[in-house]
Assembly symmetry: C2
Homo-oligomer: 358 residues x 2
């Protein structure tokens, strides 16, 4: 990884960005919040209520609640599911956000236990679930599976897994951090995917590119109880309106573009596939994101990132994540407005430079 | 209390506001965030780091961390104090925020126990603490005591209470939601008050009038551990910069005005004291806030609030809080820019209308 300050300085001199919607800029995010936005009071009313109603409708659920972050959202709804069942175990993929990036919040704050099922390098399979003996509180499924480059199971496999959870008396919860992307991949509206689940978490700052914020949608009583946990966890801010207004505006703008982003992901995969030393995961991309495995040492990739920024004004990645093979690095490409401002061939040409000695 | 929608509609037609800085408006809050604000990434860098450094210096502490809300901030730092002492009990005033407005977050999320000491209608006294047998994890002192109209103990009494906590091996934590106001009241800089305590929480959306947000300041190692809890509690948002930028700008603007706000509080008390049927609490005001006890039934006060808004374009309160006497209502007046835009006599005249039949 490049040093953060160096990376920011390099990036700020670039004019093209292969990833997402380009860098976070205060000016453009602030411009997306109308000065006459109707404010909420501690999460009640105004644009927060408007967003919650719109998201509930979009997901086909009776209710939705806005929260500051996904970490807060998912622990809150999992706590509700667990308390109602007097069970403690949440089943999830070993590489999901809760397992990797939440510092044992479930365990340390709620006395819940995250139990990884299946294997890190592949999706959860029904057989993994059937191997679980204890009655779980909930099964959490992440769609698409970010750590696998946005792979997701066939829809009927998903239905079977959720069916298994129901048969065990467990709640089925969807980690839909990228449900907008998943929806494009399944070619089904978000509500059709959400319909399988008891509760759904969706995010607004990733593919949608808004300020930090998210929703949990589900039955009225579950969502009402999540609101109580939002208060306890410190998420019922005096005003949630800046993030909610940002989310509402950009959701309307970018959700319809997801199929276009997916098309671009596949075009980039097509263009980069012939390049020696690059592998696309999954191939073809299933959602508007993909991982690239680059046959090059980490230092070489970093040096090429630097050179691309300095010489060509193209910003790619902050650095490469490792893999079990020191000669292979992994980077994640999320498709957004910035990616689509370049042609797929241009993006592929830039990516090819990451595996090419000068 | 007036119905929220009715109150908003009435307020929005008013041109004068006796309370604080007037109503929350998206436009003015957004205008306080520079479009070239340096953004943070998950709380690191940019304006968030700038605010943390400025607040640490202002409070004379080695470190500070920005968090989305006071509920999150105080439970995080109390958890740190408790874990380090392997103790569970937090001593606090029976009417403090944790006891009244946090839905047992300490108990339900952290297995901590809030133990009220002293009595609701007066400040904590040293004798209340000396009556506690168990070794507590922390003593939380709220300055000023909001529920008592902003009363605070003499500084030497405060020193004695903190000394007692230290002698019992407990942490001394300052709930400084209104430390800026407390500082004006004690005529001491915030750092001189903060110096007594192991950790200090300060807020930016109350007297300062910024977007929701706060800081915890203390020793480096304590603040570092609070950062871990911020992550677990879901407060390490992808971007915390909007709230931090708002806080930094308005802190610089309004902190120097606190003595002026206090002067206005005392002038209002002087002007309202002769009015029959109104009592000022505390009298004289000790900080830039005060409570008013109004001799009138709740419905009469509400009707007069309505009439003042409709006929005079003056917005006062959403309604009156009850007291043990049904014939007496209580309202809270926080002094801010809007209060200071009226003369003390004008404010007193408006308040007098609340106890006067037409």
């Amino acid at each position: 990884m490049l040093d953060a300050a160096e990376a920011d300085a390099l990036r700020d001199r670039c004019t093209r960005f292969v990833n997402g919607h380009g860098p976070v800029r205060a000016a453009s995010l602030l411009a997306g919040i109308a000065p006459d936005t109707a404010v909420d009071t501690y999460g009640d009313g105004g644009v927060v209520a408007e967003l919650e109603a719109e998201v509930a409708a979009l997901l086909g659920k009776p209710a939705a609640v806005f929260l500051p972050s996904g970490i807060m959202a998912q622990q809150a709804v999992l706590r509700v599911h667990a308390d109602r069942r007097a069970r403690r175990t949440v089943l999830y993929h070993p590489m999901c956000h809760l397992a990797r990036h939440e510092e044992q919040a479930l365990e340390r704050l709620h006395g819940l236990i995250g139990r990884p099922v299946g294997e890190a390098h592949r999706l959860i399979a029904l057989a993994d679930l059937e191997a679980v003996a204890e009655p779980p509180a909930a099964l959490l499924i992440e769609l698409p599976q970010r750590d696998l480059g946005g792979e997701q199971p066939p829809f009927d496999a998903l239905e079977a897994q959720v069916g298994w959870a129901r048969s065990r008396g467990a709640a089925a919860h969807l980690d839909g951090a990228r449900l907008w992307e998943s929806s494009a991949g399944y070619e089904r509206p978000p509500a059709e995917i959400a319909a399988l689940f008891d509760s759904v978490y969706v995010s607004f700052y990733k593919g949608i590119g808004a300020l930090a914020g998210c929703c949990v949608a589900g039955e009225e009583d579950v969502v009402a109880e999540v609101r109580e946990w939002r208060r306890r966890l410190g998420g019922t801010l005096y005003g949630l309106w800046p993030a909610a207004a940002s989310a509402l505006g950009l959701l309307r703008e970018r959700l319809p573009r997801m199929p276009r982003y997916l098309e671009q992901a596949r075009a980039i995969a097509d263009a980069v596939r012939p390049v020696p030393g690059i592998r696309v995961v999954p191939d073809p991309p299933q959602t508007p994101m993909l991982h690239l495995l680059l046959e090059a040492p980490a230092e070489a990739v970093e040096e090429r990132i630097r050179r691309l920024a300095e010489e060509d004004g193209v910003w790619t990645f902050r650095g490469a994540g490792g893999t079990p093979d020191p000669a292979v690095q992994r980077v994640e490409l999320a498709i957004g407005d910035a990616t689509c401002a370049m042609t797929a061939d241009e993006v592929a040409g830039v990516l090819a430079r990451l595996v090419t000695p000068r």
